[in-house]
């Protein structure tokens, strides 16, 4: 019996060679941003100031103020673990400093920090600081402590390890679901300089399955497994960010099996935000050939790009690399890589001449009149349509239907028409194609006009892959 099946939307597209193409499946944890602080180009000092020396950033420390630096263009971090080494140069209850997570702006963020006698999770909401969790901890001037801030949903965990041992504070707060990462030192004493040093900032988060953690070509770009801003489809996408024009980094999927000497179509949705260089998709073939398939700059909404490339004779696999050169944010979603359907049509001639004809000898047959060779790597169709009646250019015409055709060797002729007619169909061909010899027969009658000028018409043969 027959049945009607309700299928899943989106199941209709061609087979996709890319695994986890929409970044919906989370993989393992990986380092998505880290900085050795050779300079502060990955950072944006949004409040107060920092100085840098030997890979260590030192807060300005003027009170009352907040010295806050956020990782530039990393505003969509949601869950993950941010670690920074913090060294207080003074220990006082008026100074709190450490790792900032879910930074929205200078008035809204979480701080996992140390202050005199305790480890705290502090929320700054609309400019007002509030300690939402704390644990006793003794810190010493000049000692270094590793602060680890972990955000998982609405749960914020802050850990410290150092000369005072370890401690953990946990809070539940849902005011900020996402944001950037950074460092902050808050000095509420208006008259005393209180500074903190920061080094080795590093962010860890789940990297989309089948995709690599970000690799740096230059500078310190980062990756966000983004579920915050609207994706092109689904809930997730992959975002690369860079803090400076000289930055370059990528995430990639390796070992995608392909056939040598074949053409593939890559399709990808890309959104860019103030990209100074380019957001790129690069194909690296197993024989080393590298080609940039898509390149986008500036600020653009989600746009689907589709392009093709041909593998070399020695290529058996490709790596698809998503790359950001420069500053800004590049978002990628809905990748697909599939064999490119292609069709080619070769006609053995561009015209045929029946010569002089007369009704007595009619009909006139040309067998074959031409050969139409179709080459395709998928199911194809060859169709025929006439442009109109035969005309001699002086106003005399006779019907197109008096010309008829058949596949060579066929039994019956079909009158040509201005309506599209299927000549033949076929399945994937060899590289030499499928030759289709076609016979013509022309019927003329005494009712047809006569002319010293040649009567002409045009037939269009069209090859498609329906």
């Amino acid at each position: 019996m027959t049945g009607v099946s309700l299928l899943l939307p989106g199941a209709s597209l061609a087979a996709n060679l890319i695994a986890n193409p929409g970044f919906e499946t989370a993989g393992g944890a990986g380092t998505v941003f880290s900085d050795t602080l050779p300079d502060l180009s990955a950072w944006q000092i949004v409040s107060g100031n920092y100085t840098l020396s030997g890979g260590v950033a030192t807060s300005q420390g003027f009170g009352p103020s907040t010295d806050l630096a956020a990782v530039r263009n990393a505003q969509d971090y949601q869950d993950g673990t941010f670690t920074v080494v913090t060294t207080p140069l003074t220990v006082a209850p008026q100074e709190t400093g450490g790792a900032v997570i879910r930074y929205r702006d200078t008035s809204n963020f979480y701080l996992c920090g140390i202050t005199k006698g305790s480890l705290v999770i502090q929320r700054r909401l609309a400019g007002t600081d509030l300690v939402i969790a704390s644990a006793a901890y003794t810190s010493a001037v000049g000692s270094s402590y590793t602060l680890t801030a972990t955000a998982t949903g609405s749960q914020i965990t802050c850990k410290i390890s150092g000369s005072g041992g370890t401690a953990t504070a946990t809070a539940t707060d849902a005011n900020f679901a996402s944001g950037s990462i950074g460092i902050a030192a808050i000095n509420s004493n208006p008259s005393i300089l209180r500074q903190m040093k920061f080094s080795q900032p590093s962010m860890s988060a789940t990297v989309p399955q089948s995709w690599s953690a970000p690799a740096m070509l230059s500078g310190r770009p980062g990756l966000v497994p983004d579920r915050i801003a609207p994706a092109n489809s689904g809930a997730a996408y992959l975002q690369l960010f860079g803090g400076a024009a000289a930055f370059s980094g990528y995430s990639q999927q390796t070992s995608i099996s392909v056939s040598p000497g074949s053409t593939y179509t890559l399709s990808v949705a890309i959104r860019t935000d103030s990209v100074s260089g380019s957001a790129k998709v690069v194909a690296i073939q197993s024989d080393g050939t590298t080609g940039t398939l898509v390149s986008v700059a500036g600020t653009t909404a989600w746009t689907v790009y589709s392009t093709s490339f041909t593998t070399d004779a020695g290529t058996t696999s490709v790596t698809i690399r998503l790359q950001l050169d420069g500053s800004g944010r590049a978002s990628f979603d809905d990748l697909s890589l599939s064999i490119t359907p292609a069709v080619a049509l070769a006609l053995s001639a561009s015209s045929v001449d029946f010569g002089g004809v007369d009704p007595i000898s009619s009909p006139f047959a040309l067998s074959p009149a031409l050969t139409a060779t179709v080459t395709s790597n998928t199911t194809w169709s060859l169709s025929l349509a006439g442009s109109g009646n035969f005309a001699d250019g002086t106003g005399k015409t006779f019907p197109l239907a008096q010309l008829s055709w058949r596949l060579h060797g066929g039994t019956t002729y079909t009158a040509t028409s201005t309506t599209t007619q299927t000549v033949t169909t076929g399945v994937a061909t060899t590289t030499s194609g499928a030759a289709n010899p076609i016979d013509f027969r022309l019927q003329v009658t005494y009712a047809d006009p006569v002319s010293s000028q040649p009567f002409q018409t045009t037939l269009t043969y069209t090859a498609t892959t329906p």
């Binding site: 013509f440 005494y446 040649p454």
Partner: protein, 344 residues
């Protein structure tokens, strides 16, 4: 008669081209063009921008001039692509689309790239929208009566869905219209270059054909990724199974495609079934359709019957020639040289 003669003379110059004379064949060099991708498929959202590269190849040695234009299209049940003016169909994506080039002047053995941009309006209807990008060679100046223009086209099907991924409903159906057993005709045998082989085919090699319809009753397209018809037999003389692969068509919404699935050189006597399984992705298929069939070797039966009949007739005639058979022999006079109990 005179009029007829006059008409004949006048008609003799009808279609005169160049020097005229007897019908002549091809007069100009070959043209060969190709396009990739020849299919464009995407799921898009209202308000979204879609940009795709189309690669055009002039595989001939001579230069060509190609007109590049948009068309609407439909696909008939027999897979004929019927082009319509751009924007004439309700589901046309042509009004949203533009091309980077309208004319391509290409040297021999060259390649060009055209960018198709589709800007889906914010109020675009959910469902599948289509357009074709046609690359058609311009006519080559010729005195020939029938001029050919090769064209290739890239057929786009875009499923426009809501931003949350809803709205597209993919619904398909497989319907086996018939399973027929066909034998070649004696006329085919007569016209065959291999008459012995054709005669054997006529006797014992039928072709089983399943005429299958694939229906798309949803609002988004789907592709026949793989699958086909499996012919199996519960008893058979000869090959017992056969798989006929389905062509990899794209099935547009509200359309029906006819697939002709054949088993050449099927067994000459069998009972079996044709099971059609059409995959719309690598793992999922439409509901399976199974139809029984029976192969009866009519030609063999007829031949055997005719041979038997001939033998019987021959036997009867032979008996008749010998004088009416045994009754006559019984009625004939006994040999004067033989008598019961008599020795020689």
């Amino acid at each position: 008669m005179r009029r007829l003669t006059t008409m004949s003379l006048l008609a003799a110059v009808l279609l005169a081209a160049g020097s005229g004379g007897a019908a002549s064949g091809a007069t100009a060099p070959a043209i060969s063009i190709g396009v990739a991708p020849s299919k464009l498929q995407a799921n898009l959202h209202p308000g979204q921008l879609y940009k795709t590269d189309l690669d055009i190849y002039n595989k001939g040695n001579g230069p060509v001039v190609l007109d590049v234009f948009l068309q609407d299209y439909t696909i008939s049940t027999d897979s004929a692509v019927v082009f319509k003016p751009a924007g004439s169909l309700a589901q046309s994506a042509a009004p949203w689309s533009s091309l980077s080039n309208r004319v391509l002047r290409m040297s021999g053995q060259s390649h060009r790239r055209v960018v198709l941009t589709v800007s889906v309006p914010n109020d675009a209807a959910i469902g599948t929208h289509t357009l074709a990008v046609v690359f058609r060679s311009r006519e080559v100046k010729s005195n020939g009566n029938v001029q050919y223009r090769p064209a290739v086209a890239s057929l786009m099907a875009a499923g426009v869905e809501n931003r949350d991924g809803t709205g597209l409903v993919l619904r398909g159906q497989v319907l086996t219209r018939s399973v027929s057993v066909n034998w070649i005709s004696l006329k085919d045998v007569w016209h065959s270059s291999d008459k012995v082989g054709a005669a054997v085919d006529w006797l014992v090699h039928p072709t089983v054909t399943a005429n299958v319809e694939v229906r798309n009753t949803g609002n988004t397209f789907f592709n026949i990724i793989k699958g086909g018809t499996d012919f199996t037999t519960s008893f058979a003389a000869g090959d017992r199974t056969h798989h006929a692969a389905a062509p990899t068509y794209t099935i547009l919404p509200n359309s029906v495609r006819t697939l002709t699935m054949t088993w050449d050189h099927a067994p000459f006597f069998a009972k079996g079934s044709a099971e059609t399984r059409i995959y719309y992705n690598t793992t999922s298929h439409l509901p399976v359709e199974t139809t029984p069939f029976m192969i009866i070797p009519w030609h063999l039966i007829i031949v055997v019957g005719v041979v038997l009949a001939m033998i019987v007739l021959f036997t009867l005639r032979r008996r008749a020639k010998r004088g009416g058979g045994r009754r006559r022999r019984k009625a004939s006079a006994p040999s004067p040289w033989l008598s019961p109990g008599a020795g020689v």
